[in-house]
Symmetry: C2
């Protein structure tokens, strides 16, 4: 209990320290006292009490998982670059007020930082709001950029389904005043390219437009003030049956049952160009300005998607709503239709793997004069994709290398550490990826085993005889073939044998 008393004394000292921080000498003395106290407490007691884990909803990535992650990132970045995107980065936290009022009902999921004096900060919830803040702050009216970074949501994690509290978003956005639907069509092309490239199995991209939704709400008799909250209810249709959604609209949100039923009829509809044509003739919708605009643009979008040759996997779907407040036009979401990896016993159940839309008002919310910069963008849900690929790798027993080492510098006899160090430095300096075992006298068998385990294809063996002859024995791990290579040709020989 001496320990407890000391801890209390320490806490008290810290409190004093906080109260009186005018005199730096005073502070330094207090700190010194605290450190002494800590030293007296003994560093060893009570230090194994804590829980050894990562925070709820987060995880580490092992080297093997990183190798899979890098593959997915590469596919995505290659696509973004193919479409001419630049890349930016923003801080992981923003001023709290920057995020305020952008996420509707989801705002409660934002992580705040503790007030330790100074500014009030929150972890970013997505990459879109920081992007809009960046554009307004730098008065940029025209940019095509991607941004790959972690975002944070205090949501209920479902880690086996790839839902985390810390997760990567891979965003591509086009900002600027352009002719309608050309950038929007490119975003859908990008989703199509990435999902095809990653070979995740069959997928479908649902498309809708906030203006069509709002027009639909209006003609169904939803009061203006309830548009966003009713939109949130519609957004739940992919997880809940219509009856439950209707109950929420009527019971919780106070919508009339008749209005809800009228919505219920529309949200069943999905199709392609012919559905758009039909709705353009719909006696009620065609009278609503917003819906008409939205449907007109939807038609144009489908024409462009036809030119891109991707309409086969795109569905205009009136039940698609998307949760976020900031969308103003086209919205879309990609879902996987089934798992290709049927041989896995418990297939990963995944929902949406990409989503996005047009948000023409968001930048204006940050501009002192409210100047608008129209934007449209797509976000790839990497964690869910990653879950699928990880399971697939597990199932296939594919061996994934986690290093790129070309050659292990080894020796068959003792007392050759110095020679190994000299040789490996030569290789490193020539740009060869090389390793040694950190032992003075490792056994040759252990060195060869290390190559087997880690997939290193070549071994460069130095021995007394080789040193005398000015050669190095190069062994091919897979075939056990061994050749003597003159030392001055070794780099070239390794390059030749490891380039494919």
């Amino acid at each position: 209990m001496a320990e407890e008393a000391a801890v209390r004394a320490q806490a008290e000292a810290v409190r004093r320290l906080k109260q009186d921080k005018t005199d730096p000498d005073e502070i330094a003395k207090e700190v010194a006292k605290l450190l002494e106290m800590k030293a007296q407490l003994g560093g060893d007691e009570g230090k194994h009490k804590f829980v050894l884990k990562t925070p709820k909803g987060t995880r580490d990535y092992s080297p093997k998982q990183m190798a899979i992650r890098e593959r997915v990132f590469n596919a995505i970045i290659t696509c973004f670059k193919r479409h001419g995107a630049e890349v930016i980065d923003t801080p992981v936290f923003e001023l709290k007020e920057t995020l305020t009022g952008k996420y509707g009902e989801d705002s409660k999921l934002i992580y705040d930082l503790k007030d330790q004096g100074g500014e009030l900060l929150s972890l970013r919830y997505d990459l879109t709001v920081p992007f809009a803040r960046y554009l307004a702050m730098n008065k940029i009216t025209n940019i095509k950029r991607y941004h790959i970074a972690k975002v944070y949501r205090r949501d209920n994690p479902a880690m086996t389904r790839g839902r985390y509290r810390e997760f990567y978003q891979c965003d591509f956005d086009i900002a600027g005043q352009f002719d309608p639907m050309i950038p929007d069509a490119e975003c859908l092309k990008i989703v199509h390219e990435i999902l095809s490239d990653l070979q995740l199995g069959d997928f479908l991209v649902k498309v809708n437009d906030r203006r069509i939704l709002d027009g639909m709400f209006a003609v169904c008799g939803v009061p203006d003030s309830k548009f966003r909250t009713i939109c949130s209810s519609v957004d739940k249709l992919d997880k809940m049956p219509w009856e439950e959604v209707k109950n929420e609209m009527v019971g919780e949100k106070g919508l009339s049952p008749e209005a809800a039923d009228r919505i219920g009829e529309y949200v069943q509809l999905h199709g392609g160009l012919e559905l758009i044509e039909r709705l353009l003739q719909d006696p009620k919708l065609s009278q609503n300005k917003l819906a008409k605009e939205g449907l007109g643009d939807m038609k144009l979008l489908f024409e462009y998607l036809t030119l891109f040759g991707i309409t086969g996997k795109i569905s205009f779907d009136l039940s698609l709503a998307r949760g976020l407040d900031y969308y103003t036009g086209v919205i879309f979401e990609a879902v996987l239709l089934q798992q290709e990896n049927d041989h896995v016993e418990e297939p990963v159940s995944v929902g949406s793997v990409a989503g996005g839309g047009r948000y023409d008002g968001l930048v204006g919310m940050f501009d002192p004069k409210g100047r608008k910069v129209p934007c449209v963008g797509v976000s790839i849900g990497i964690e869910r994709i990653f879950s699928i690929l990880e399971q697939r790798v597990e199932a296939s027993e594919e061996k994934i290398r986690t290093t790129e080492t070309q050659v292990l510098v080894a020796s068959a006899q003792k007392k050759l550490l110095e020679e190994r160090l000299k040789l490996i430095a030569e290789l490193w300096d020539a740009g060869i990826k090389a390793e040694i075992l950190y032992k003075k006298n490792p056994k040759l068998l252990n060195q060869l085993q290390y190559c087997e385990d880690t997939g290193i294809p070549l071994v460069a063996i130095v021995g007394e005889q080789e040193l005398k002859d000015g050669v190095v024995k190069l062994r091919v791990v897979a075939t056990r073939e061994e050749v003597n290579v003159r030392r001055e040709s070794l780099v070239e020989e390794i390059r030749m044998r490891t380039s494919r």
Copy 2:
């Protein structure tokens, strides 16, 4: 003021909501009310009041800055991979207790998250403690890994000198029980390779050992309990003259003036193998077990560094202390000796650009049974390096491309948007990096200007005549040369002309 009242009402509603969160229906109703209230308030009023900035000590990276950053990352990652490192990733925050008691006096700089229910969390302060937690949690006793990620310190930012509150660390560490000084020497080789590779100008790597420091403190008459705090004072010698450091030791930390003077004599010493030999004969130091061990290993280290051919830039320096608590053996720090870019009017003043050392006890602090995993590692201070390179690019007026686009799909006449879309989809599907302007009828001059501005080397021009002839006109932006290429050969032609 109606607005203010509404805001107050809203705040009140939120408070009620928090108090009574037993009934989900009740919550949903409250949320709906709040949203209605917000809608009535009008989205447009009062929204431009906030400050448009990133949090103190943080910054955005523009596409141009990202291009420079990627170059530096590439050089570093290439080096880490050359040395056979795997890569891992950990969450940006850890349980608060994971970070507690690891950073000595610097603990006050840790960012805590707000207690929003659930676990108490802190942003990571470095990548070393999360690495140790990862090893202990996964019972890994043997790994060579790198980790490149942002860390967070509530320090006084000095952004022009590259000191931020959010900044990248690029860490390479070797964990495992090995023969002495081999991994330690490799870490120094890595620092040497990276700093040479980046061509930042002349540099020096100072090396010392915590055991030598502790032995020195003991023979100088510093009480055991003051070792760490006196070590912190010594650490300030690169920023403060000896007299001030001595004042801190004596005045603030209660060391005797005689002990301080004895320390003062030792910390002036720096050199190479001959200094190590001399100190091994030092009548006081040679009697101290710790110092002797440290000096013996330092000698071995310098022998290995000689084999690596890098002793020219390495200095054994008794004034090097390093701030962090967790080091137990070799420590080192690389500093730039002078700026190469003398033509810049205000050269960036940078301090240490890399540092690291051995921390054999850290993993054991996390292991339930206190099992130790010896570790040694290096951290590259990317932000300072980046500051220098950014200034150098500015000064040299080097034009940095921020995209990799190979070709712009353009048209000379109106009404060819559909043809441009068809052609660009063909190019994208063949893996060509291509852009179009998002206009129905862009002027040819604007399209060519876009290429000039962004460095796109080729333009593929479609026109009525070309369409009839089944060709595309390919224009080389730099030379204005134009050739007609058959449509089916276009992809090959673009590849050929843009591969170098």
